[in-house]
């Protein structure tokens, strides 16, 4: 506790220092690094301490907000989130120093770092706040500071628009949270989380609160169809910010839902169904849209939606288990969700950072303009590959472990639950399988087009690998991904512990051993795989010794004049699936057909339209604009009419109230 307070104090000090260092960018970098390290370090240690010693605490700081106390606490769930927050924010921050150096807007660097610390601090407060008012305060602090982080390159119109969309979405979501917390607080008689947990909520109220929470937190988390800000904001932000946004900030929505489940406990039976359905739609929708993207960070942004979908599936099945008294299923589902939160923070952070490295060197994120970068950016490429393998949920990497837990919970749900849930759960399993397959396609596309084959532009030869301070954070993230992938026991047991804390009733520890045993076996089988691979590599090296190895061009099937531009593009690669889901994706094609006998230019461009954005939200916005435009004639400029308004209103009130 003391350590955590120290961390908060350090960060505040850092914020103050940086606010004063506007004109000294180099100084600002150092000061930022020092305070970031100290602040993240102490918070990280306090989180680890909580996880290891298994004791949570709640404490009240000597300070009072107008409507509540500053109560903070770290329990298991908070600690897990705190772990991801501090780790990723620290690494992304370190990366950010290198990323922003020598870029444009040097004079804003101190402000940027300052806001980064504000953002970090509000993230830490969000997961540790134990009072609704403090929570909302931190929540809005998070939204606003991240808005300014996103709009760092604000000379660009698109960036400003993206930021604005994000801020508006975030704030409207927050307004839903206001109502939600007020409803909870009214019932509990206090805005304190502890009191809320102790209160009893009628089922009806629980349902309303659930809906409000799902909307309010869902906007942040990026549930489809509330996700529209996400694919715009992530590409707009500097890469280290995208990493943090995608890695931890959208998880705050998940944290909120988990906290809500912990407080309300009993929900109407349709709630898990809704959560599962959201998971299915977001997961499959996210990955399908990702498949249609041509821009690397936009692609990654849609993958965030997909992963949020997977997490929602975990939560959904967990909640189902909780409501139907299947504690094992609930624990596994929640643990899967929690672990995936952490894992996603790691591998998505890694992916965004390595995408940032690519963009920093090539100045473009268009996948189809790149190619062959593995030769020029070997570290970035290798680390991106690790991230890709992890996000596809393939064995040996962390994504698999959490997806495996979610699968496990779902499969156990299939043969435990009554008919109606089983249909949805079956669908969820299929969706998860489809997500896996599509993600694989998407990341082979991304990795293959960007890093493999030949460069599609001439400038590639000048590219240099980024500096070590940028590579090192990525390497650490990759290390964590592999560590959890091969030695999952530690994190899985932490997450199981956390999941048990989510349940209202205590689960015995024998259960946990049962749940953990297959994980140990899995480690064994993974080692078999590793062993075989090592054996094969060694064997190959031996066998190759006395064999001829020749170098030659790629076999062009008889075509002699192949050029790099003839390589299969990302769009073509994705096209079989995009075509198959044409209707869902609202595929738009622009074609210029060959005109003369010797046509000069032929053009094919395809674009995937985000249906909920274009056919729902934009229309609503346009409608709103139109209605407001019409109503502007109220303010027509004639004083006589204005006077008449007064009397008409008076008259109406008289009729209403006096007769």
């Amino acid at each position: 506790m003391i350590l955590f307070s120290v961390s908060l104090a350090l960060l505040s000090a850092g914020i103050l220092c940086l606010a004063l260092l506007r004109h000294k960018p180099r100084w600002a970098e150092n000061v930022f690094l020092v305070f970031l390290t100290l602040g993240c370090g102490s918070a990280f240690i306090s989180a680890v301490d909580t996880l290891i010693r298994q004791e949570s605490f709640v404490d009240r700081l000597p300070w009072s907000l107008p409507w509540g106390e500053v109560t903070i606490g770290i329990d298991f769930v908070s600690a897990l989130f705190l772990l991801a927050v501090t780790l990723l924010c620290f690494l992304a921050g370190v990366y950010g120093i290198g990323y922003l150096r020598n870029g444009e807007h040097q004079q804003d660097i101190a402000g940027h770092f300052c806001l980064y610390l504000v953002f970090l601090m509000s993230l830490m407060l969000v997961v540790t706040a134990r009072n609704a008012v403090l929570f909302l305060l931190a929540w809005e602090g998070m939204s606003v500071s991240s808005y300014f982080l996103i709009t760092y390159h604000d000379g660009n119109e698109e960036v400003r628009q993206a930021g604005l969309l994000y801020l508006i979405a975030a704030h409207i979501g927050t307004l839903c949270l206001w109502v939600m917390f007020i409803l909870l607080g009214t019932q509990a008689g206090s805005m304190d989380f502890g009191r809320m947990s102790a209160a009893q909520f009628p089922l009806m109220l629980a349902g309303v609160v659930f809906v409000l929470g799902t909307i309010g937190f869902g906007v942040k988390a990026g549930f489809i169809p509330l996700h529209i800000w996400l694919p715009h904001a992530h590409p707009a932000a500097p890469s280290h910010v995208s990493a943090v946004l995608s890695g931890v900030m959208i998880k705050m929505g998940i944290y909120g839902i988990i906290r809500l489940i912990m407080m309300v406990k009993h929900f109407p039976p349709w709630c898990p169904a809704v959560l599962t359905a959201i998971g299915i739609v977001s997961g499959v929708g996210g990955v399908l849209y990702a498949l249609g993207q041509h821009e690397i960070k936009k692609l990654l942004a849609y993958h965030s939606i997909e992963n949020i979908g997977i997490i929602a599936l975990g939560l959904g099945i967990g909640l189902w288990g909780q409501l139907n008294q299947y504690h094992t299923i609930a624990v596994i589902g929640y643990a899967g969700a929690l672990l995936h939160v952490f894992n996603h923070a790691m591998f998505k952070g890694l992916l965004f950072l390595s995408a940032g490295s690519v963009i920093r060197q090539t100045h473009t994120g268009e996948i189809d303009h790149l190619g062959g970068l593995l030769k020029y950016l070997p570290w970035t490429g290798a680390l991106f590959l690790i991230g890709s393998l992890a996000i596809c949920g393939l064995p040996l990497f962390n994504g698999f472990i959490s997806e495996w837990l979610v699968y496990r919970a779902l499969f156990e749900g299939v043969f435990s639950f009554p008919m109606e849930p089983v249909i949805l759960i079956g669908l969820a399993i299929i969706a998860l399988a489809l997500i896996g397959g599509l993600a694989l396609m998407c990341f082979t596309k991304a990795f293959g087009t960007v890093f493999l084959g030949q460069a599609r532009s001439q400038h590639a030869a000048d590219l240099k690998e980024n500096s070590a301070p940028m590579i090192a954070p990525m390497a650490v993230l990759a290390g964590v991904c592999v560590w959890i992938g091969i030695f999952p026991q530690t994190m899985v047991s932490f997450c199981l512990q956390g999941a048990m804390r989510i349940l209202p009733t205590a689960t015995n520890t024998a259960d946990m051993a049962n749940i953990l045993r297959p994980v140990q076996w899995m480690v064994l089988s993974l080692f078999v795989l590793i062993g075989i691979s090592i054996f094969l590599v060694l064997f190959r090296r031996m066998a190759m010794k006395n064999m001829s190895v020749a170098k030659s061009g790629t076999w062009g099937c008889g075509y002699a004049a192949a050029s790099p531009r003839m390589q299969y593009t990302a769009s073509s690669f994705a096209s079989p699936i995009v075509e198959l889901f044409r209707e869902v994706l609202c595929l738009r094609r622009a074609k210029a057909r060959p005109q003369q006998i010797f046509p000069e230019k032929v053009l094919v461009a395809s674009e995937v339209i985000d249906a909920s954005e274009h056919f729902f939200w934009r229309r609503i916005y346009r409608l709103m604009q139109e209605v407001c435009g019409r109503m502007k004639s109220i303010q027509c400029g004639y004083a006589q009419i204005y006077v008449l308004y007064i009397f008409i209103f008076l008259f109406l009130i008289l009729i209403w109230k006096v007769t």
Binding site: L394, T444, G448, G453, I532, L536, K551, S572
Partner: protein, 304 residues
């Protein structure tokens, strides 16, 4: 450790034979004598002795691919029972690892293909990725059915516990599972009617075109890996039909006979059918999915 080794060795040894059986059957239908039963073995041996040619475009990813393909294929076999012999490794949830190992294999096959920068290999990779998405959901649907029947998430239990009772009560479901699984197996291993391993037109191929640039030792590993994959998936299918609680020897015999029958069946199918048009392949998979879903509905209505 020993059971794992022996299991792996047996698979290594036996898997090319299944291809031999298929080849013999096809030859029989074509009215030829055909290559010897051990021809796949000879092929592999030949490839292992040859030199290697690498494209200048490729990187270490290309060289890693064969190793991963072989390793994942071998690792996947340790979860599959042989008749009544339990697999060396089994645990709650191993079925998922089993499926995802193939995912890993596929990932590397695809990026290996993309590493060459050849548009043909890219094309093949794209198709492989697209079709396997669909085949994977069929596979999962089948697994859902098996899980519901067996109430277990251990692959060997899903396949052959309570054989008679489950066939008695769930016969129709298991038939649906078997049929759809058979289709998935064909897709996964790029057999006719989805893909023709013997074709020579690069534009229409799927699997074969992805490994165009591999040669010598590497190609040998990939080929062997794909034999193993066919063998392992086949053994999953066959295990469905092998009664449990037989003595080990009878069980294994039963199993090996089943594998033979499977080889012949594949051979027959490949002899009597033509390759589908590429854009029809998804329809086949969707058909398989519908079959499996039908099974799901049957189970739900029966209230298992």
């Amino acid at each position: 450790m020993l059971p794992i080794f022996s299991h792996i060795l047996f698979v290594l040894a036996l898997s090319p034979l299944l291809l031999g059986v298929i080849g013999k059957t096809k030859a029989f239908f074509a009215g030829r004598w055909g290559p010897p039963l051990l021809q796949p073995w000879y092929d592999i041996a030949k490839l292992f002795r040859k030199g290697v040619v690498y494209s200048t475009t490729t990187s270490w990813v290309f060289k890693l691919t064969p190793v991963v393909v072989m390793a994942t294929a071998l690792a996947s076999c340790i979860f599959v029972p042989w008749g009544s012999i339990a697999p060396p490794v089994y645990f709650w949830g191993d079925a998922l690892l089993f499926i995802y190992l193939y995912g890993l294999m596929r990932f590397f096959l695809i990026i290996g293909a993309l590493d060459t920068g050849s548009s043909f290999e890219g094309m093949g990779a794209s198709r492989e990725a697209a079709f396997s998405c669909l085949s994977e959901i069929v596979l999962f649907m089948d697994f859902i059915l098996l899980v519901m029947v067996s109430k277990s998430l251990v692959l060997c239990n899903m396949l052959n516990t309570g054989f008679f009772s489950s066939w008695l009560s769930m016969g129709p479901v298991l038939v649906l599972v078997a049929v759809s699984f058979f289709l998935v197996m064909l897709v996964e291993n790029s057999r006719i009617p989805i893909d023709d391993p013997n074709t020579h037109l690069e534009l229409t191929m799927i699997h074969e075109v992805m490994v165009l640039d591999h040669s010598g030792y590497d190609l040998g590993l990939i080929l062997w890996g794909s034999y193993i994959k066919l063998f392992v998936l086949g053994s999953v299918l066959v295990s469905l039909f092998v009664p449990a609680h037989l003595s080990p020897l009878t069980g294994v015999t039963f199993f090996l006979c089943g594998m033979g029958v499977l080889g012949i069946t594949i051979g027959v199918v490949e002899s009597v059918m033509a390759r589908l048009r590429l854009n029809r392949v998804p329809h086949l998979l969707i058909g398989a999915f519908v079959l499996a879903t039908l099974g799901f509905i049957v189970i739900l209505l029966k209230g298992a």
